[in-house]
């Protein structure tokens, strides 16, 4: 297990060194995240030109939601998505050889080996948006709430990682999953808005089926002083359950993959 982490760390470092060569990519990534932030802010401006609150959320509060969504998106695009995409591609092309030899630490390896360093610019731009939003809320930010925010953010990233891995494991059965990234990008836009906006059935599926509600809205609630203890408990409990389920599902799928011929 430790060895897999070390191996993954090696891949990670090599990937980062490799990406650092292409300095031009940094400027392109910066430009793209600036563009994405602009779109988000323009849409917010449009919405708030026609109303003053959206489901009880004011404009700076919605900026925080936007910022969290972009920040989390940056983490996903930099670390989670490239790994999952690579996994899906390798399953499709029958190249998942090493996994056949060590099923129990394969999960660590396939989850950490790929990296798109320059996508971290989204983390920077997302943080900036959060910063501006929090500043404009003007309600002050205590230590506990900040800590809760960071913890819930990481929990959110973990939830989305589990979600991605469950989908990617599906490729052991449905071999060609070319649509995965498009599908996720489309559904991830749900996180742009606080989950309370959506009608009941949509809200539940976007919280439990596709844990975007927990990943984006809940950390934003921490920063905008809407967080109740029940939410935190449910989020943590759900997270723990999902991690366990994901691990089991991954090993189930891998056994099936290595049992049947590639």
């Amino acid at each position: 297990m430790i060895r897999s982490f070390r191996l993954a760390a090696l891949y990670f470092r090599l990937g980062a060194l490799n990406e650092l060569q292409y300095r031009a990519n940094f400027f392109v990534a910066l430009f793209q995240s600036a563009l994405a932030v602009s779109v988000g802010l323009v849409v917010l401006a449009l919405v708030y030109s026609h109303t003053t609150t959206l489901n009880g959320w004011k404009q700076p509060e919605l900026m925080v939601v936007l910022g969290v969504q972009i920040l989390l998106g940056g983490i996903i695009h930099a670390t989670i998505q490239p790994n999952m995409q690579q996994l899906v591609d390798e399953v499709r092309d029958g190249k998942l050889d090493f996994a056949l030899t060590k099923p129990e630490d394969a999960q660590v390896l396939i989850s950490l080996r790929a990296l798109r360093l320059w996508q971290f610019t989204e983390v920077i731009s997302g943080s900036a948006v959060i910063g501006v939003g929090v500043y404009r809320i003007d309600a002050g930010l205590g230590l506990w709430r900040s800590l809760a925010f960071v913890a819930l953010l990481l929990m959110g990233a973990l939830l989305l990682y589990c979600f991605w891995l469950i989908l990617a494991t599906g490729s052991f059965w449905i071999v060609n999953m070319w649509f995965l990234s498009d599908l996720f990008e489309g559904i991830y836009q749900v996180g742009r808005w606080p989950i309370g906006v959506y009608p009941g059935w949509l809200r539940y599926s976007m919280s439990y089926l596709v844990p975007i509600g927990f990943a984006v809205t809940v950390p934003a609630q921490a920063l905008t002083n809407r967080l109740g203890w029940e939410t935190v408990v449910i989020a943590l409990g759900f997270g723990a359950a999902l991690v366990v389920f994901t691990r089991w599902f991954w090993r189930f799928g891998l056994k099936r993959y290595s049992g049947a011929s590639a």
């Binding site: 430009f31 109303t51 489309g186």
Partner: protein, 287 residues
């Protein structure tokens, strides 16, 4: 130059040729047929893709419905039922205007597909047009239950007149052509620079805001509405949607079709010019 011509080989066959129109028809017919066959082989994948696609307008719809409800039922005269109608028809129009993405040109060049096209006496735009036209049939068939579901959930106000339906059916193909041409022109930028994706992002951002993709154009500030009248974006989303959903007069409907035709002409001319230049560049720098 030698004075005496060498004798031609007797067995070189005389090349008979079909009528151009007949061949073009056959090409499109074959292309569409084969794409229908291929797409129907992967229903699960198509559904997943459609799901991701439908997420976008449903999100917009929910947000604007929430705003409308908080403003007493309507935003600038557009009520929840109208928003529902707009965004549900949006999904149909969107499915119709999906074309070959300019991001795909990098792959196209790298895999040698572009060179392959250059070796054959047919402009590659015909491939893209035929391919994606073929995709529409299985997509729309599989989309039907989703459309019905959306209608049941969101209760759109949809009462189109016969002329509106006719104009709509023509306008969606006009939108398809305009968007195909524009995306083709964008894609060619890849021949000139590796940083083309930055340009694509700016283009698609403009499209999002100026086409009616994000929200009905009447809800945008006035200067945006004036700007969108001078650009092709409006004719790929807003016009087809409004022709069915809105209250356009007969004259406006016909004028709209005419403007689409105008844009098709302009974009075709631009595409041809850009193609000539791009092929020259591609052939000069190597491939």
């Amino acid at each position: 130059m030698p004075a005496l011509p060498a004798p031609e080989r007797a067995s070189a066959p005389a090349i008979r040729r079909e009528l151009w129109l007949r061949s073009m028809f056959d090409f499109y017919a074959t292309g569409i047929r084969t794409q229908i066959q291929t797409q129907f082989q992967y229903p699960a994948a198509t559904y997943m893709y459609t799901l991701g696609m439908v997420a976008e307008p449903v999100i917009y719809l929910v947000v604007w419905t929430t705003i409308a409800k908080s403003q007493g039922g309507a935003v600038q005269g557009i009520g929840t039922a109208q928003f529902a109608a707009y965004y549900i028809v949006w999904t149909f129009v969107r499915a119709m205007n999906i074309v070959f993405t300019p991001y795909g040109w990098e792959w196209r060049i790298r895999e040698g597909e572009l060179s392959g096209h250059l070796l054959r006496p047919l402009h590659p735009i015909h491939y893209d047009l035929a391919w994606f036209a073929g995709h529409k049939v299985p997509w729309l068939v599989m989309y039907l239950p989703i459309g019905v579901g959306l209608t049941l959930i969101f209760h759109p106000a949809l009462h189109p007149r016969p002329l509106e339906i006719v104009v709509f059916l023509i306008a969606i193909w006009g939108a398809y052509l305009i968007r195909s041409l524009n995306n083709f022109i964008l894609g060619m930028i890849t021949i000139w620079t590796t940083r083309a994706s930055a340009i694509f992002e700016v283009w698609f951002l403009s499209e999002l805001l100026l086409s009616g993709r994000l929200l009905p154009l009447t809800l945008m500030p006035h200067w945006v509405q004036s700007l969108s009248n001078w650009l092709p974006f409006k004719w790929t989303f807003y016009f087809p949607i409004e022709s069915l959903v809105g209250d356009m007069s007969n004259i406006e409907l016909v004028k709209g079709l005419g403007t689409q035709l105008l844009w098709i002409g302009v974009c075709t001319a631009l595409m041809r010019g850009a193609w000539k230049l791009s092929v020259r560049h591609y052939s000069a720098v190597g491939n």
